[in-house]
């Protein structure tokens, strides 16, 4: 099987580590060769963060380059646009419609681009925009945004729903399993 590429992007502190842990666990359990790559340290302090998840028969590079991503899962609108050039032809963007202003916007040096997702759609990019934050709150915790997005991503995979749920059980603390399963289901059905 040709290597598949998923990028998870967002703002440092939004919880992308749990999403990549879930994906890594699930795909390894499915018997794929898997590489998951992220950068720790400086970039986690509210900066733009990116995680690469690659799986297939044999995966070499730990990173996903421009024009290679099958999916970009973005926790924030601007970050979806920042990494759009990594998308391959026919790739898909799944994006949380939350807006988090970066510091240059906060201090008025730069503008947050309006209608940035429409701009991508107009260029022929497949964009699934969902209000993951509201759905996560419906599930019981704003922090479950990451799992809502994983639920939405799961629609595109031939992996049984129960397997995703099992991966959630393995990756989150017992007290949070129910909230996260609900969040996953809300993401899956939206």
């Amino acid at each position: 099987m040709e290597t598949k590429n998923i990028m998870i992007v967002g703002v440092g502190g939004q919880g992308s580590l749990l999403a990549s842990k879930l994906l890594g666990r699930l795909l390894a359990d499915e018997g794929y060769d898997v590489k998951v790559s992220e950068v720790h340290g400086m970039s986690q302090r509210g900066g733009s963060v990116v995680t690469y998840v690659r799986f297939g028969d044999k995966v070499y590079s730990p990173v996903i380059d421009e024009g290679e991503a099958d999916f970009i899962v973005s926790f924030e609108k601007l970050e979806a646009a920042r990494y759009a050039k990594h998308l391959r032809k026919d790739g898909k963007i799944i994006v949380n419609t939350q807006q988090i202003d970066p510091m240059p916007v906060i201090i008025g040096k730069e503008e947050y681009p309006e209608n940035i997702l429409d701009e991508l759609t107009a260029k022929g990019v497949h964009v699934d925009a969902i209000d993951a934050l509201s759905l996560a709150c419906d599930a019981g915790s704003a922090k479950a945004c990451n799992i809502v997005l994983m639920g939405n991503l799961a629609r595109y995979f031939d992996i049984p729903y129960e397997k995703w749920e099992q991966a959630i059980e393995k990756c989150v603390k017992p007290n949070f399993i129910d909230i996260n399963k609900k969040a996953f289901s809300l993401g899956y059905n939206n």
Binding site: S37, G41, S61, P62, V63, A81, A84, K85, M103
Partner: protein, 579 residues
């Protein structure tokens, strides 16, 4: 069953399985998790040391006593540990000793892009370089065998991508290893008379290691399908990028032992292929070696000395078609890292910026004080340089510099190498004002304990450095503690200490808001009736405050209720949710 592990965790596992009994380290991205993961094993000893020199010396002590040991650090940490390195190369080891060093090509979290392989060459110490997590585990075991067989410390070199990429790993069992300690002054007392005799041993050892490099399975040739007639010599993640681009279509010499490098193996490989390319990140170490042994290779003329590689960079260099991409036309604002909402450093930096004070800075989260809108830093070079740098800055002229210049340094960095600079200030008397930003944790590397926190690596109570007493005992008479959430108090302290004709220390103390025991208060909100859009609160550069429709607004998912913004508002527009 194979397990997904980051390279650092796999390396820790390998050290554990190989019988490593002690690790002493100072945290530094991207090396930190090696030690953190090792600390999770119960039957071994693991600690955070005050700095890399202490860590390396501690590891050597354990080796001398007969236990396999290791110390872990980032590339620049090796500069601090280098004092031990060059002489432990002479003395050799008793039980095996490994120095894990993690480079940071691309400078994701570092102040330079130095290539640690130079140290291996300069100190004549073997260096192994794994290319994925399984190799990290396996190479740790081989490194100990080399260490004891050749009587040398051994480097295992990581890089950011290796350290923080997860790949599948097959775990094994731990083997206990123990050597007897026998007093041996000619080997372990490196006074001139003994060291003179050890130097020939080192040169002899390098020759033996070169012979080993010719035959070890660490270095391997993968013969390509024949589609391309050229060959590639590579190592580490560069190997992965090469395989990503060419698969099995090109012949590759993958080097796992990068110091010393083989001679005959490279010559033999070169003789079976056409042109030879050397693909290595950062400096042309392998390339230079190849040229020295008479092999005409192409390296840095095609592949940069700067930054990280990727499959795209390799493909482009070989003229392969770039992949189709799409992007938005609107400019995308950058999103640099910044101090968190509620960060205790922010208040102090606001005061320094407001009073237009020259700030000699240091390394840690607080380096983000340099970012707009605060722009409150003038220098940041290395660990501890704020304190000693300020001393020199003040001694360089006799004008009024001392009344408008401070040093800022974190608690962990101060312990690491700031206190020696402070001794110099006290001893040689500059009227310096040093601000210790004490957030009670090593923050930027992801919350490690340090000698000033009172807890050890396992989170158990430990010895605690009393910073106030420490500063007083080295000879600073004026030492005061302020709460950085209290802007008026901070400003008063800074102005008073700067005016004094003696050295002084201000400890700006409040724990990092990300610490679990720090409970956030209810978030603030802004009454739009009262907010007049003066933007005074925006000068803090708090990520929780933005400006919409002529008013400041607070993002209640980010705000932790520190209240510093409300101290700045002349219209009392901030109120706490639920009040």
């Amino acid at each position: 069953m194979k397990e997904l592990m980051i390279g650092n965790a796999a390396l820790a596992r390998g050290l554990y399985e190989a019988g490593c009994s002690l690790i002493s380290s100072y945290p530094g991205t991207p090396s930190t998790e090696i030690t953190e993961e090792f600390a999770k094993y119960d039957d071994v000893y693991c600690e955070w040391a005050p700095n890399e020199k202490v860590a390396a010396e501690t590891a050597f002590g354990a080796s001398l006593k007969g236990k396999r040991s290791a110390c872990c650090m980032k590339h620049v940490g090796l500069n601090v540990a280098a004092d031990l390195l060059f002489t432990v190369s002479y003395s050799g080891v008793n039980a095996g000793m490994i120095i894990c060093v993690a480079d940071d090509p691309g400078m994701h979290s570092s102040q330079n892009e130095q290539d640690s392989r130079h140290y291996a060459i300069a100190a004549k110490v073997p260096m192994l370089e794994p290319a994925d997590s399984q190799e990290a585990l396996d190479f740790a075991k081989i490194a100990y065998e080399i260490s004891e067989r050749f009587d040398t410390p051994v480097f295992v070199k990581m890089c950011t991508r290796m350290a923080h990429s997860q790949s599948l790993v097959e775990k094994g069992e731990r083997t206990e290893v123990s050597k007897e300690y026998v007093k041996n002054p000619t080997k372990y007392i490196m006074a001139p008379a003994n060291a003179i005799k050890r130097h020939p041993f080192v040169e002899e050892r390098t020759l033996k290691l070169t012979e080993y490099a010719e035959v070890t399975s660490l270095n391997k040739i993968e013969t390509g399908s024949g589609k391309y007639d050229f060959g590639i010599i590579t190592s580490s993640t560069s190997y992965q990028y090469v395989k990503e681009v060419f698969g099995d279509d090109v012949s590759v010499l993958k080097l796992g032992l990068v110091n010393p490098l083989p001679v005959k193996l490279i010559q033999d490989f070169a003789s079976t292929v056409g042109k030879v390319y050397v693909i290595e990140e950062l400096d042309p170490i392998i390339e230079t070696h190849c040229k020295n042994i008479g092999i005409d290779v192409c390296g840095k003329e095609k592949f940069s000395m700067i930054g990280e590689f990727s499959q795209k960079i390799i493909a482009q260099a070989f003229g392969l078609e770039p992949k189709e991409t799409v992007s938005a036309d609107s400019p995308i604002p950058v999103r640099p890292p910044m101090m968190c909402a509620g960060c205790p450093h922010r208040g102090m930096f606001y005061v320094l910026a407001k009073n237009n004070i020259t700030v000699i800075g240091d390394i840690g989260c607080y380096t983000l004080g340099t970012m707009p809108p605060l722009n409150a830093m003038d220098m940041m070079i290395d660990m501890g340089a704020a304190v000693s740098g300020l001393h020199g800055f003040l001694k360089a002229d006799d004008d009024d510099t001392e009344s408008r210049t401070v040093a800022v340094i974190g608690d962990s960095t101060f312990i690491h190498s700031g206190v020696t600079g402070l001794m110099n200030i006290a001893y040689n008397q500059s009227n310096a004002t040093v601000i210790i930003l004490d957030n009670s944790i090593t923050g930027m590397t992801g919350h490690q304990q340090n000698p000033a926190t009172g807890y050890n690596i396992k989170g158990d109570p430990a010895g605690k450095v009393d910073l106030e007493s420490l500063c007083r005992s080295v000879g600073i008479k004026s030492v005061r503690v302020v709460d950085p959430y209290d802007l008026a108090e901070c400003e008063k302290a800074v102005k008073e200490e700067l005016a004094k004709k003696e050295p002084s220390v201000i400890i700006s103390r409040r724990p990092c808001v990300l610490l679990k025991y720090v409970k956030p208060k209810k978030p603030l909100r802004i009454d739009p009736e009262k907010c007049r859009g003066c933007k005074r609160c925006m000068k803090l550069g708090c990520p929780a405050i933005s400006f919409r429709d002529k008013h400041a607004v607070v993002d209640n998912t980010l705000c932790i209720g520190c209240g510093v913004c409300s101290e700045l508002c002349p219209f009392e527009a901030f109120e706490r949710e639920g009040e």
